[in-house]
Structure formats: structure tokens, C-alpha cells
């Protein structure tokens, strides 16, 4: 018993150590300032996926995992979407493949972008209301129970993007004895029934991956999980809570438009805004804009008001050299 | 207490002020003509004579104006703008805006209580905003420049003439004469035109009363009256307004010697 605990702790320590080593390696050896943060983020996304696998292998208590993620996200807003979400990782991987083929992406027109933004909240609301609309209402089936473990499992929907590619429980798809999965696979399986589960999952996987080849971060525009996080940013009573914020210093901005062009979430607020905190709900804090802004100290990432990362003149050799 | 001198190499006249401590001992003035260095010496000697002192008793000579290199003895230089501000605040400690209308250049200066310049404007390179304008108009009216001021005070009606250019102004005056407009009305219009130009310069720099009016043209009662009409603010005119530049230079000399 003790041996098992110790070996688990060792495993986790090695994993954490490797991740940190990787981050340090990128900080020291990656010279090109324009892509340093992006590489770091990639590493953190990969590590996050492994972490979720480990987490699921310890407990399938969705409740606990959910609570942890949501509580943390209250404070760091949509950082989850940019740095920890495995689904986001898959989409970023397809983007790498796209870049290797020198294929160009399609920029969603502004009006459509805004419409899809609203659609996210509609989808979220739909899944949250589902238990109330369907299913038998019996005295012991409190709404809360339905929410958590009842039929149609809205909580499971919210947790779906977190499903790693390799899962520690039985799945429909097996490869050399390893159980494979895909985000939203269990939800889709539940709704489509056993006969069509595999087909539906495959179609969904194909659609989302193929679209991500053409539109950057395609699923993020529909994701109910993301909508939950951004609800906090959007609604005034909660807008003071997130402690991680993007901030723009108006004087230093030359309106060069680079931030707007490189944003995978097609956020225009960083460009449009005349200084101050960026409050948009589409921003995933991927920090691509801060990384690519060529003017020193124009865009900042603030943690509880203190600046932890700022834009700099990336034409300069890295100071760590 | 040190004895210092300030020289203002003006375009028409060279002015000298001799200062001991904070007290003005004497003035000197000579027309610049073609040989400003001789005029400077002349004015300096005149001032020395009136003060009853020798050149060696003067510890420091500061100069301002155009062509300061031509004066034979110059220990330091200061710009006319700074000099005017210092002189105005010395004469009137509450002064905050200084208007210096010279023969060919006009300046408006805003300063603080210590005489430090906060902002200034110099007229746009055209003599229409300075004394030369009045000279040309007096010629057109066929009156003496010294008399035009008093003449304008007798005006009954109001007419206006162009303020943008001496040439245009002159032709306006001639046409008014042909229309049989009385000379005193035209004279007043001349001063109004000049005051208008100066007033817009003042507003560009920012008006902070009281206003001190210096420079040769300040002696002209016609101009002083016209400026009072345009600017609804207190206007102070010292006894020797043309000496302001030289006084400012002398005060600068005093600072250099260590007795601010």
C-alpha cells in the first residue's frame, strides 16, 4: 500500500520535473522572441493533457475535477482554454500541420464572429436547462442531482473538452489495447445510442479537426465550457474577479494591427480599445498578441495588477543570451 | 553691491542701462544706424557719464538684441525674451504677461513670479505687427509719428484697415483719405489694426493679467489706448518702456555676478 503511494508520488514528481525542465529549456535556448511563448504554451498544453490522464486514473469523481477547474478558472479566466485544454491542444496541433503545408486560414468575418459568440451562450444554456426540460420529474430527483449525475449529464458536457486522447477506462475505440477517446465522445455516445456511437464520434472528430484546419480554434467558438468561463468576464458583477488580465497602455500603441492579425480567436478588442484592461470573453490568454507586439511595454499580462509579462521589441536579441 | 550694465542692440536704437544692486543708476540711448558698434559705445558712454562712473567700475556687461557680437565689450548674452520677462517682473512683481512691441519685432511672453519664461511668441517675420507699421501709416497719413497717437484719441467714428500687411494697410489708408474720412478716425483704425495683431498673439500664448507693455511703441498713447480697448485686462506701462530689454540684460548680468 505504502509502496504504491510512494511510486505514484515519484511518478508525479518526475512528470512535474520534466515539464519544468522543458519550460526552462525553452526559456533559455529558444532565441526567437516572436515564438518563445507559443512554444512554452505548447509544452504546457501537452503536459496538461498528460496531467488530465493521470487525474482521471486516480478518480472518476467528475464532481471533484470539475469543481477544481471551475474554482481556479474564476481567478484566471480563460487561461484554461489557452494553456490547459486538451481539445485546444488538438486544434493547435492541426494548426501546426496546416502551417507545414503553408495552407492559409480563413478569417471569420466580424459579424459572423459576434454571432457565434452569442451562440456559445445559447448552447451552454441549452445543456444546463436540458435536465429540467426532459426526463421524469420525481420527488427524489432534485434538479441538483440531475445536474451532477442524472440523465443527460450537463456537467459531463462541461467537462468534455478535458477528455484526453488516451483514457484510463473502457472506451469504444481500442488501439493495441490502449483505450482511445475524443472530447465529447462520451456525451455523443450517450445521446446517439450504442449503435451509432462510434459513427457519430468519428463524424464529430473529423468535422472538428477538419474545420480547425481552416478556421483557427474552431470549436472554441461553440464550446459551452469556454462560455462558462467567459460569462465571468462578461457580466459586470463578476468582472472584477479574474486576476489574470490583458492590459493595454494606450500611449505606446501605434495601431499597427499586428495583435489583431495574429489572434487565433479573432479578437479585435485589443486593437480597438483605447487602453485599459481587455474585457472580451473570446480571449483565451494565449498571449500571442503580447508576444508579437513589437513595442515595448504596450501590452501587458497583469496578475492581480502586477505585470508578469510585457510586450517587447522582438527585433532585439533575447536578453538571456 | 555690484555695478553692472545691460545693452539692448535694437534694430533702431541701442539702449543701455546701468544697475547697482537693484537700483537703476542711469540710461543711455543712441540710434543704431549703419554702425551699431559705434552706437553701442556712444550709448554706453552716455550712461556712464550720467551715472558718474568709469568703465572699469562696471563688473559685468550683458547684452541682448540682434547683433550682440558687434558690441565691443560683452561678458554674457541673454535672449530678448528672457530679458523682457525679468525686467517686467522687476518693475511690477505681479506681472505675468509681457508685451514688447519694438520697431520690427513684437514679442508676447508669459512668465511666472520669478521672471522665468513659461511660453512666448514672436510675430511672424513681418513688420506689420510692429513699430514699422505705424511709421509707414504715419507717412501715408502725412502726420508725424509722435503726433499720430494724440490724433487718434480724438477719433469720433470707427473705420477699419487691413492688418495683414504694411503695403495693404497703406493702400487702405489712402483710399480712406480719398473717401474724406477724418484723419483722427483713420489714425485710430491704424492703432486698432496693430492692437488686433498683438492681441491674437497674446491669446495664442495665453493671457494672464496683469499685462506689462514695454518697447518703444509703448510710449505711444494711441497704441496703449487701442490695446486697452482690445484686451479687457489691466495694462501696466513703465516710465521708460524702451529700456526694458536693456534692464533685463542688466538683471541677467546681476545674476551672473551672483547677486540675483
Amino acid at each position: 500500500m505504502w509502496l504504491q503511494v510512494v511510486s505514484e508520488i515519484l511518478k508525479l514528481t518526475v512528470f512535474a520535473g520534466l515539464t519544468l525542465a522543458g519550460i526552462l529549456a525553452i526559456l533559455i535556448w529558444k532565441k526567437d522572441l516572436k515564438t518563445k511563448i507559443t512554444y512554452m504554451r505548447f509544452l504546457v498544453q501537452a503536459a496538461s493533457m498528460v496531467a488530465f490522464y493521470l487525474l482521471f486514473s486516480y478518480t472518476t469523481e467528475l464532481l471533484l475535477i470539475l469543481a477544481a477547474i471551475f474554482v481556479l478558472s474564476i481567478f484566471w479566466g480563460r487561461l484554461f482554454c489557452g494553456w490547459l485544454c486538451p481539445f485546444g491542444f488538438y486544434m493547435d496541433l492541426t494548426a501546426v500541420v496546416r502551417k507545414a503545408f503553408k495552407a492559409r486560414y480563413w478569417n471569420i468575418p466580424d459579424k459572423l464572429n459576434k454571432a457565434l459568440d452569442k451562440l456559445r451562450y445559447a448552447i451552454l444554456a441549452f445543456f444546463l436547462c436540458l435536465p429540467f426540460m426532459l426526463g421524469p420529474i420525481e420527488p427524489w430527483q432534485w434538479p441538483l442531482v440531475k445536474f451532477l449525475v442524472g440523465p443527460f449529464k450537463p456537467m459531463s458536457v462541461l467537462l468534455s473538452p478535458v477528455e484526453p486522447l488516451v483514457i484510463p477506462w473502457e472506451s469504444a475505440v481500442k488501439l493495441y489495447g490502449i483505450n482511445l477517446s475524443y472530447p465529447y465522445a462520451s456525451v455523443i455516445a450517450y445521446y446517439s445510442g450504442e449503435k451509432f456511437a462510434l459513427l457519430s464520434i468519428t463524424i464529430f472528430a473529423f468535422l472538428t479537426l477538419a474545420s480547425s484546419f481552416v478556421v483557427r480554434r474552431f470549436w472554441c467558438r461553440f464550446c459551452p465550457t469556454g462560455a462558462t468561463f467567459s460569462a465571468l468576464n462578461r457580466f459586470k458583477p463578476f468582472s472584477w474577479i479574474p486576476i489574470l488580465r490583458l492590459h493595454k497602455v494606450e500611449e505606446k500603441c501605434t495601431k499597427c494591427g499586428i495583435c489583431r492579425r495574429v489572434c487565433p480567436a479573432t479578437v479585435t478588442e485589443v486593437y480597438d480599445r483605447k487602453g485599459g484592461d481587455i474585457k472580451t470573453s473570446m480571449c483565451m490568454l494565449c498571449l500571442r498578441c503580447v508576444e508579437m507586439c513589437p513595442y515595448e511595454d504596450c501590452l501587458r499580462l497583469n496578475l492581480a495588477g502586477k505585470t508578469v509579462f510585457r510586450s517587447r521589441n522582438w527585433l532585439e536579441p533575447s536578453k538571456i543570451e | 553691491m555690484a555695478t553692472v550694465a545691460g545693452i539692448d542692440m535694437g534694430v533702431q536704437n541701442v539702449k543701455v542701462v546701468i544697475l547697482k544692486g537693484g537700483e537703476i543708476l542711469s540710461y543711455g540711448l543712441a540710434p543704431s544706424g549703419f554702425e551699431p558698434e559705434k552706437a553701442a559705445e556712444q550709448a554706453f558712454e552716455e550712461a556712464l557719464g550720467k551715472a558718474g562712473i568709469t568703465p572699469s567700475q562696471v563688473v559685468h556687461v550683458a547684452a541682448t538684441g540682434v547683433g550682440v557680437e558687434l558690441a565691443s565689450r560683452v561678458d554674457s548674452k541673454v535672449s530678448v525674451v528672457s530679458a523682457d520677462a525679468k525686467a517686467a517682473v522687476h518693475l511690477y512683481p505681479s506681472a505675468r504677461t509681457v508685451v514688447d512691441v519694438g520697431a520690427e519685432e513684437s514679442r508676447v511672453i508669459r512668465c511666472d513670479g520669478k521672471g522665468t519664461v513659461l511660453d512666448f511668441a514672436i510675430n511672424e517675420r513681418c513688420a506689420a505687427g510692429a513699430g514699422a507699421f505705424l511709421e509707414a501709416m504715419a507717412r501715408a497719413l502725412e502726420v508725424r509719428l509722435e503726433d499720430m497717437g494724440r490724433l487718434s484719441l480724438e477719433a469720433e467714428g470707427t473705420v477699419s484697415i487691413s492688418a495683414t500687411c504694411v503695403i495693404f494697410g497703406e493702400s487702405d489708408v489712402v483710399s480712406l483719405i480719398h473717401k474724406q474720412v477724418p484723419k483722427h478716425d483713420i489714425a485710430r483704425a491704424v492703432y486698432d489694426a496693430l492692437a488686433e495683431r498683438i492681441t491674437s498673439m497674446i491669446h495664442r500664448v495665453g493671457l494672464e493679467p496683469p499685462v506689462v507693455l514695454v518697447g518703444g511703441v509703448a510710449r505711444d498713447v494711441g497704441f496703449a489706448a487701442a490695446l486697452k480697448r482690445k484686451l479687457e485686462a489691466e495694462i501696466l506701462i513703465p516710465d521708460h518702456p524702451e529700456m526694458a530689454g536693456a534692464l533685463g540684460a542688466a538683471l541677467h548680468a546681476l545674476e551672473k555676478v551672483g547677486e540675483a
Binding site: 499597427c256 494591427g257 | 540682434v66 525674451v81 528672457s82 519664461v117 512666448f120
Partner: protein
């Protein structure tokens, strides 16, 4: 627009007279360049040796003119441009040599006055005059001219120049923030791209464009490195010398210029470490804003500022012929042809603070740029330099003044022309301003 057969803007000079005038003006201009270089050398006793390279390039009648002639003999094409909107990366990617053409010679104005009235911007009159006698080597050696239809002067200059050379116009939209503006601007640049490819016979490939962008990245890096150095208080480089380095980038071989500028920067950084200053610590730090002061004759104002009593030092300027030239890098995301082209297009349009632009909600880009430079370089005062006839800079003066009054920085409006006669008057004003700055600093 190909060069038309019959000249639209007449007034021809008989060839013999034109040739004599050209020789006379060239000699006078070369002499003036030498004189100004000497004055810069005198004013800064321990001027770095590498500045001699820039002095040589500045005397373009000898050095650069010969190089361009030789390049043309070898078959290379030269593309001139009047305004900062011309996409240098595209010119380089097409294998042509970019040179900026705008005349800074005062004497040429007298000839230009025969075609264009005196009220018009002197830069235009001077360029027109130079064109009449084939004075400017850069115009003469250009195979095509890229002009930007920005202010009235530049727009009509473009027409007049089309009498001499093929002119390719670029039409920047005045409201650069509008979404349709970037689309339109991309189309404008696509047209120029096609013309460049046709002229040089070289297709602009992704690889070619990438290498051109990287060349300009290195140049921008050197340019900005020098600007960083100018922040130091006291300064390690005098303003006129920095301005000379800035301007030579516009007609010199850009890669060679980059190497020499990096060399200069290393020397200056060393001096900063050893505390070898270029001028005393309490020298008033001046910024020149407004109409650009173009080499050589327009060194009039910088000369006055840095040779005045009290001496001032120019630590920044707002000129499209100065600190703004290579201020913004091209921000490429994915290195595909599409992305690189978009990046280049946006770089030339969006961050520009030319007063030609306006906006519906405040038009603050220029104000922000000025304030950022003032704070960065610790500027004590701004001299707002406007040429007679320059409407855009003249009208914006009040706006800039109000904004700078808020941060308590004095601004002085100085209007001048392409003439040497007003040096005395300018000196009076500048000296009064510098005295005012000095007394403020002391307080």
C-alpha cells in the same frame, strides 16, 4: 501610368542653360554638404570614426550616384519613392534597388517657382526645380517612381513627375482605421507588386519576400537600436549625427548601412558604459516635430539648435525622414505568401502617424506617438517645424500644443521655408526657446 509623350507642366529650359544651372547647383550643394559635415565634426570633438562612413554616403553626388550608375549598367533596376508608404520589402524582393527621392536643395526652389506658385510646399517646388535641370541623381537614375497621393503637394508632385518618369501611384485611404481601408490598401500594393515584377522581370516569390523582410528586420533592428541609445541622459550622440544616420538609410545600400549602424551602436553603447558624453549633462533636450528636415539644406534648423547659445541637443524627431522611417517592423505570423503580404501592407498603412490621416474619434495616433517619444527620450521641449504652405502640419499644431500642455512640455511653432535669409530670425527664436528650456530644467 507611363511617362507621357507631351509634357503636361510646360516651362522647358534650353539645354545649355539647364546644364549650366545643374552644374552650378551640384557644385554648390556638394560644397554645402562638405561644410555641414565639417560643422558636425567640429561640434562633436570625439565623434566616432565610423561616422565617416555616413558622411561619405551623405555626399551622395560622389558616392551613391556612382554606385547606382554601375548597378544600372549591370542590368539592375532602380525604383525611387517619394513617400514612406512605398513598400521597400516588395522592391527588394523584386530585385530592384530602392531610393528615396525628395529634394532638400534650396536653390532648386527658384526654378520650381516657374512652374508652381510660391505658396506651395517648398519640398514640392524644390523637387520640381531639381527635375527641370536633372539635378537629383536619384530621380534621374530611377526606372520608375512610386509616389503616394497623400497631401496636396505630394499628389500634384506625382503628376508633375510623371512628365519625367513612369509614376506608380499609391493611394492611402485617409481613414486608415476603417475595415475597408486595409482591403483597399492591399489591392493598391498588389498593383504595385505586379508592376515591379514586370519592370525587373523577377517574380516575387515567398522565399524572395521572406528574405527581403528579414533584410528590413535587420535594418529596423539597427535603426531602433540607435534610437534606444538616444534615450541616454546625457546623450552619447549629437542629434545632427543621428539624423544623418537616419537619412542615409533612405538612399544607401540597406545591408551595408545596417552593418555600419550596428558598428556605430556598439561604439556608442561602449561610450555610455564609460560615461563618455557628447555634450554637457544640462543641455536642453529638444525634439523636432512637423515637416521633415531633408539633407542637405534643411540642416538649417538642426544647425541652429545645436550651435546656439545655449546649446541644445536634438534627441528625437517626428520626421518621416527621420525617426519614423524604420520605426515599425513587419509582424509576420505564418510566413506564407498571403500572410507576409498582409503583414507588409498593414505595416505601411496602419502605424503611420502622417497628419494626412484622420479618424472619427479623436485621431490620437500622432499625439500618442509624440507623447511616448517625449517620455522615452526625456524631451524638454518640442520645436514644431512647419514649412510655408504645409496645411496638414500647420493645422494640427493646436492639437499637439494642447496635448503637450497637459504633460507640461513646451512647444514652439517655427515656420520657415527653403531659404537661408531667415537664419538670423530663427536663431533669435530658437535661442529664446532654449533659454526658456534651460531655466525650466534648472527650476
Amino acid at each position: 501610368m507611363e511617362a507621357s509623350a507631351g509634357k503636361k507642366y510646360g516651362v522647358e529650359l534650353p539645354p545649355k542653360e539647364a546644364e549650366e544651372l545643374r552644374k552650378a547647383m551640384k557644385t554648390a550643394s556638394a560644397k554645402l554638404m562638405n561644410e555641414y559635415v565639417e560643422r558636425m565634426r567640429k561640434a562633436w570633438p570625439n565623434r566616432p570614426k565610423v561616422m565617416q562612413y555616413f558622411d561619405d554616403v551623405a555626399r551622395f553626388f560622389d558616392t551613391r550616384e556612382r554606385e547606382l550608375l554601375k548597378a544600372k549598367e549591370e542590368g539592375k533596376k532602380v525604383v525611387g519613392y517619394t513617400c514612406m508608404f512605398a513598400p521597400i520589402e516588395l522592391i527588394l524582393a523584386a530585385g530592384a534597388i530602392p531610393v528615396r527621392v525628395a529634394c532638400g536643395v534650396y536653390d532648386a526652389v527658384k526654378l520650381g517657382n516657374r512652374i508652381v506658385p510660391v505658396e506651395v510646399c517648398p519640398v514640392v517646388r524644390s523637387t520640381v526645380g531639381a527635375g527641370m535641370v536633372d539635378l537629383s541623381p536619384f530621380i534621374e537614375l530611377s526606372d520608375a517612381l512610386i509616389t503616394a497621393l497623400t497631401c496636396d503637394g505630394m499628389t500634384k508632385l506625382s503628376e508633375i513627375l510623371s512628365d519625367k518618369k513612369p509614376v506608380w501611384t499609391l493611394n492611402p485611404p485617409r481613414l486608415k482605421d476603417a475595415p475597408q481601408s486595409t482591403r483597399f490598401w492591399r489591392e493598391e500594393l498588389k498593383t504595385v507588386k505586379t508592376k515591379l515584377e514586370k519592370l525587373t522581370g523577377t517574380k516575387i516569390t515567398a522565399k524572395g519576400l521572406k528574405s527581403a523582410i528579414e533584410i528590413m528586420h535587420r535594418a529596423t533592428r539597427a535603426f531602433k537600436r540607435l534610437q534606444e541609445i538616444r534615450r541616454s541622459n546625457p546623450p552619447v550622440i549629437m542629434g545632427r549625427d543621428a539624423m544623418l544616420v537616419n537619412q542615409t538609410a533612405m538612399w544607401d545600400d540597406i545591408e551595408r548601412w545596417t552593418a555600419k549602424t550596428e558598428e556605430l551602436c556598439m561604439e556608442l553603447e561602449k561610450r555610455a558604459g564609460e560615461k563618455v558624453w557628447a555634450c554637457p549633462p544640462d543641455t536642453p533636450r529638444v525634439m523636432l516635430a512637423g515637416s521633415p528636415a531633408i539633407w542637405p539644406d534643411n540642416w538649417k534648423l538642426p544647425n541652429i539648435v545645436e550651435e546656439a547659445t545655449p546649446q541644445g541637443v536634438i534627441v528625437a524627431d517626428e520626421f518621416c525622414f527621420g525617426d519614423r522611417f524604420l520605426f515599425d517592423p513587419v509582424g509576420v505570423d505564418e510566413w506564407t505568401m498571403e500572410d507576409m503580404f498582409n503583414a507588409v501592407a498593414e505595416r505601411y498603412l496602419l502605424p503611420s502617424t502622417c497628419p494626412y490621416f484622420t479618424s472619427e474619434d479623436g485621431n490620437e495616433d500622432r499625439v500618442n506617438w509624440l507623447i511616448a517619444r517625449i517620455k522615452e527620450r526625456r524631451v524638454d521641449g518640442v520645436i514644431y517645424h512647419v514649412f510655408r504652405g504645409c496645411m496638414l502640419y500647420a493645422i494640427e499644431y493646436m492639437r499637439i500644443k494642447r496635448a503637450l500642455d497637459k504633460i507640461n512640455v513646451p512647444v514652439y511653432y517655427l515656420d520657415t521655408d527653403y531659404t537661408r535669409e531667415d537664419v538670423g530670425q530663427l536663431k533669435t527664436r530658437v535661442e529664446a526657446f532654449l533659454e526658456m528650456l534651460k531655466s525650466r530644467v534648472e527650476v
